[in-house]
């Protein structure tokens, strides 16, 4: 995808410093490109360190290939960068280790996370991977809120958690129907797990 056609995350112009605006280009694992402001990137410790280490100039950003984020798809990355742009310039919270952790979900974040559970878990994983502390806090809070007041039976349904019997039945079924392709998939999954689980979704 060319730079001109890349989807651009909405930016609040008024909040951006007047003197110099630098936008980095990132590419998801499904080749979707995003332009993200320098200030927004600061919300992600991982990306911030990355761009600092690269030392790009404004020209480099335009002329060099977009920075590839190979583990995250475009749909998830779009949410991540929307969140970063909205919260740019905000202080990054420090974990005080308190239990239970008290987190409020702002209105913008609540709307942003009004998504299906699959995407929500991808967002959590991306926030963890990119080390975006506050996004991790609010997305985890959203998942924790789903458990509120639920019975074990309801939790199984909400989080798609099998019971012992279902776990056992699934294992048996998998063993019985082990065709070469199924074995391949299983081996691939095990291999990924051994490699540290980076290719999560």
């Amino acid at each position: 995808m060319s730079v001109e056609n890349a989807p651009v995350v909405d930016v609040d112009e008024a909040a951006i410093p007047v003197e110099k605006k630098m936008y980095y280009r990132f590419e998801s694992n499904d080749k979707k490109e995003f332009r993200v402001s320098e200030l927004a990137i600061q919300q992600s410790e991982t990306l911030n360190r990355l761009v600092e280490a690269m030392g790009y100039t404004s020209e480099d950003v335009e002329n060099k290939p977009a920075i590839a984020i190979e583990n995250i798809d475009g749909k998830t990355l779009k949410l991540v960068f929307q969140w970063c742009e909205h919260h740019k310039g905000e202080a990054i919270p420090v974990d005080d280790g308190s239990v239970p952790k008290i987190v409020e979900i702002p209105e913008f974040d609540a709307k942003l996370m009004d998504i299906d559970n699959g995407l929500l878990f991808k967002l959590i994983w991306a926030a963890d991977y990119l080390n975006i502390v506050q996004l991790l806090n609010v997305s985890c809070k959203k998942v924790a809120n789903m458990a509120q007041g639920k019975t074990p039976a309801q939790l199984r349904r909400v989080y798609l958690l099998p019971s012992d019997e279902e776990d056992e039945a699934a294992k048996r079924a998998a063993q019985e129907a082990q065709d070469p392709r199924a074995r391949e998939v299983e081996e691939e999954f095990e291999e990924r797990k051994r490699q540290g689980g980076n290719s999560f979704f």
């Binding site: 280790g97 952790k101 019975t151 074990p152 039976a153 939790l155 989080y159 958690l161």
Partner: protein, 412 residues
């Protein structure tokens, strides 16, 4: 039929779609443990408890999360069983005003439920009706979250406790067990169960309670306080010397407890011991006082006893030198080891008559132990903080049996 079969779930769970596919939350536990732990840290106690009941795998995950971080350890668990109610209550911190309570309720209407034999036993015990109430009190607001558990059988309570101890770590355990407020056979829930015609009810009277007590005292032993008031058979014994109770050890029916066991408890560091209905008389009291005079007891503070015979301190220690002092705060008295100093006990408390007596004993380590005898049968032996403080402390000597009683209201 299983004893839990009458505890029916309100609704059956929907079947899981794609049962072979790992759930996102499970995958998160492996691929992003930080995020997974963060989610668990945001769950309430009840939510964590519910998650642990989802499957054996989740029970292990909740336990692993809970034990991984020392800050996660819960401060206190209390088992409260009285003739009116049975409760398990948990607080996160020492001074926490937020209580998580499992209240056992036998009056739940079982007929409104759908029975499924496939629902795991523990899950079927829980009605899962959460209630939260705030009480404004002098020291701030107390919040109680209550989860109704639809049974009041000891086996069910034991099962639930066992599960809690398998998932949570507790710094201290308090057991308050009082079934003798009225005679045992008339406990309310027993009658109401029979009225509903549940033929599966397995009440076997006293034996069942004794079975529960034995389990609770040996397997889930109290670590902070134990209050135990329940008439047991003569054969009922438990090895109290094995217990490690930090603060209060209070038994109402103590006839089976030997003097050696009491001394062992003190030696282990129990601060306050209160035994009613003991089989102790003059002989045991003397042994106790003489032993306490010489024993090194870094933590022990008070011992309260109801003796089985009226004793006279002068007869009790006739081979000892006894000096009388006019008041407990007689500034002219020089207290020496090997001498008992008696003084008249002055109090207007209703429990105590004017002929009560108190006496000081200087211990081997130099500390002062004071014993007071109330009425005909009650003795209270307690350690003074230090010689220097003795006079000021005992100047307001008004210790009563009530001092050592548990404050039930302070438990929940």
């Amino acid at each position: 039929m299983n004893i839990f079969a009458r505890c029916m779930p309100a609704a059956l769970p929907d079947p899981i779609k794609n049962p072979g596919k790992p759930s996102p939350l499970r995958k998160l536990a492996e691929a992003a443990p930080r995020a997974f732990n963060m989610i668990l840290s945001m769950l309430t106690i009840f939510d964590l408890f519910a998650l642990s009941l989802v499957s054996e795998k989740w029970k292990r995950l909740v336990h692993a999360y809970h034990t991984a971080v020392p800050d996660n350890a819960l401060q206190c668990i209390r088992l409260i069983a009285t003739t009116k109610t049975e409760k398990i209550s948990i607080t996160r911190n020492e001074e926490d005003k937020e209580f998580w309570i499992w209240e056992f309720d036998s009056s739940f209407n079982f007929f409104n439920s759908v029975f499924s034999p496939s629902v795991p036993v523990l899950e079927s015990l829980i009605c899962w009706k959460e209630e939260t109430e705030d009480d404004a009190e002098a020291n701030g607001t107390i919040t109680r979250h209550t989860l109704k558990v639809r049974t009041a059988e000891w086996k069910a309570i034991e099962k639930l406790l066992e599960h809690m101890f398998s998932i949570f770590e507790f710094r201290s355990k308090i057991i308050y067990f009082d079934l003798d407020w009225q005679s045992f056979g008339t406990i309310g829930f027993l009658d109401s169960m029979k009225q509903h015609g549940f033929d599966t009810y397995s009440y076997q009277g006293r034996n069942e309670v004794e079975w529960f007590l034995r389990r609770i005292l040996t397997e889930q032993e109290p670590t902070k306080n134990l209050y135990f008031d329940c008439t047991t058979s003569k054969e009922f014994r438990f090895k109290i010397e094995q217990l490690n109770v930090e603060n209060h050890f209070h038994v109402e029916q103590s006839r089976g407890i030997a003097i050696g066991e009491v001394l062992q408890l003190m030696d282990k560091g129990t601060k306050q011991i209160c035994l009613h209905g003991t089989s102790f008389g003059k002989f045991e009291f003397k042994i106790l006082v003489v032993t306490l005079r010489n024993m090194e007891l870094p933590k022990w503070k008070k011992l309260n006893l109801e003796l089985n015979k009226e004793i006279n301190v002068f007869n009790c220690f006739e081979d000892e030198e006894i000096l009388s002092i006019k008041t407990p705060t007689d500034r002219n008295a020089v207290i020496e080891t090997k001498t008992l100093y008696t003084f008249p006990l002055q109090t207007d408390n209703n429990y105590i008559s004017s002929d009560n007596v108190g006496f000081h004993i200087k211990r081997e380590d130099g500390t002062i132990m004071t014993a007071t005898l109330f009425g005909r049968y009650f003795a209270c032996v307690y350690l003074q903080d230090s010689d220097a403080e003795l006079l000021s402390i005992i100047s307001s000597l008004d210790h009563t049996i009530d001092d050592l009683h548990f404050e039930y209201d302070s438990l929940v």
